[in-house]
Every structure is written in structure tokens, then in C-alpha cells.
């Protein structure tokens, strides 16, 4: 559970913010010692779900900043509902997290 999420009800909308720990290597940097390019290593996909339904999907490239921050707004969930998140990177490593609407 390394994806940190927050979900807060504001009026009719739920503001969801998430922070994922990841190096987000661009693949353009050169290793100073060996002179070789450091291979790209980044999150490719982030999915948000509510009540078993996929409600949000984001495809990320290496140009998203290190430790990606994403925020979006939802209509529907109410206080106490759980929004769950999952991510996968280009090596296939998965991560997940959840937030309870406050």
C-alpha cells in the first residue's frame, strides 16, 4: 500500500488526491560513470475504482514528475465510501492503495 490517497467531500463533489512513490526515470539521462543511457522506468497506468467499478484511468509517460501526484473529482460517492487505487509500471510491478471519503 504505497499509494497515498485522500478523498474529501466538498458540496456534491469528492476531491480525490493521490501520491504514488516512484522514481519515474525518463530514459534520457546518461549514467555519468558508464556513459550508458539509464533505461526508462516509469508508471504506465493508474486506475481508480469505487464499488467495484472502474471510474478513472490514467496513462502516464516518463514526463510525469517523480513521485506522481494526480488529482481528480468524482460525483456519486458519499462519506464513508472507499475509493481504491492501483498502478503498474513498465516492469509490471504493481502497487495499490485506498482512501475513505471524508
Amino acid at each position: 500500500m504505497a499509494i497515498k490517497g485522500k478523498a474529501k467531500l466538498r458540496g456534491e463533489k469528492v476531491q480525490v488526491k493521490l501520491l504514488i512513490k516512484h522514481i519515474m526515470e525518463t530514459g534520457l539521462r546518461v549514467d555519468a560513470e558508464t556513459g550508458n543511457k539509464i533505461p526508462a522506468y516509469h508508471i504506465t497506468e493508474v486506475v481508480g475504482s469505487w464499488e467495484g467499478k472502474e471510474i478513472f484511468r490514467s496513462n502516464l509517460g516518463p514526463a510525469v514528475s517523480k513521485n506522481p501526484y494526480l488529482s481528480f473529482q468524482l460525483k456519486g460517492p458519499s462519506v464513508g465510501d472507499t475509493i481504491s487505487f492501483s498502478s503498474v509500471d513498465n516492469k509490471g510491478i504493481k502497487d495499490s492503495g485506498a482512501a475513505v471519503v471524508k
Partner: protein, 151 residues
């Protein structure tokens, strides 16, 4: 015996095919759009993603700083009043591969997203919104200062 074996094989084969079909189509829609992310031009990346040419629109609200002191972390917000938005995507003209991120929205999502992106140098940032077969875009320049002392 031989006949039974043969028909069993056919049955097994067709089972395998039926099982792989939904998996395949699911993957097609969900897979990372590599062609668009590898594209070196914004218009090509937009065409790759949506299959339609972009048109500039006041309805797309793009919020980025005029000056970014740190190109590694540039906050960006995109929102719109356009209805039934299916997708939002973000591009940096000066990056080797302009496409930074895409957001696929469901009817539960309000068309307003924020994230943080990397910019190699001063350039235009473009936000594209896809709704009902049309791609609407907004463009704004962001000055990237190295070391925070102007340049």
C-alpha cells in the same frame, strides 16, 4: 477412439479461443498507448490517441505557471465546461516525446484533473480534451528557469 479424441481436441481448441477473445479485446482498450507516447510531435500524438485533428478552444481551461523555477516539477491543471468529456491529455512541446499523460474519464468524473510534469526547457504546454468526436485544445507557454535565477 480416434474420432472421440479428435472431437475432444476441436472442443478444447474452441474453448481456448473463446476464453482468449475477451482477454484480448480487454487488453486492446486498456493497453498503454505506446505509439502516442513515443511520438515526437504533438499533432501526431493527438492523431494517434483520438484519430481526429485538434482545434483550439476557449472552453479548455489550462492552468500552468508562467514561470517554472524547477522544470522537474511543473504543476498543471486542466478543466472544462464541455459536457461528456471522454479523455484529457497533456503535452509539452519542447520535450523529446510531447505526450506526458492521458486521463480516461467515466461519467462519475468531473472534467477537472491536476498533476505535475517535467519540462526540459521553456516551451508551450498543450491540454487536449476529447468529447463527442472532437479534440479541443488550449496552449500556454511556460518559461523554465534553470537554477531559479532567470535565463
Amino acid at each position: 477412439m480416434n474420432l472421440i479424441n479428435q472431437s475432444r481436441r476441436i472442443l478444447l481448441k474452441s474453448f481456448g479461443f473463446c476464453l482468449s477473445l475477451p482477454l484480448l479485446s480487454g487488453k486492446l482498450f486498456a493497453s498503454w498507448p505506446e505509439e502516442a507516447f513515443m511520438s515526437t510531435e504533438i499533432d501526431k500524438a493527438i492523431g494517434e490517441l483520438y484519430g481526429h485533428p485538434p482545434q483550439a478552444s476557449d472552453l479548455v481551461k489550462l492552468k500552468v505557471p508562467d514561470i517554472a523555477e524547477n522544470g522537474a516539477v511543473v504543476p498543471i491543471s486542466v478543466s472544462t465546461d464541455i459536457e461528456n468529456v471522454e479523455s484529457i491529455s497533456i503535452y509539452v512541446e519542447g520535450n523529446p516525446n510531447p505526450l506526458a499523460a492521458t486521463f480516461e474519464l467515466s461519467p462519475y468524473i468531473v472534467a477537472a484533473v491536476s498533476t505535475r510534469i517535467k519540462m526540459g526547457k521553456t516551451s508551450n504546454v498543450v491540454a487536449a480534451i476529447y468529447s463527442g468526436g472532437t479534440v479541443y485544445t488550449a496552449t500556454q507557454e511556460v518559461k523554465v528557469t534553470i537554477g531559479g535565477c532567470g535565463g
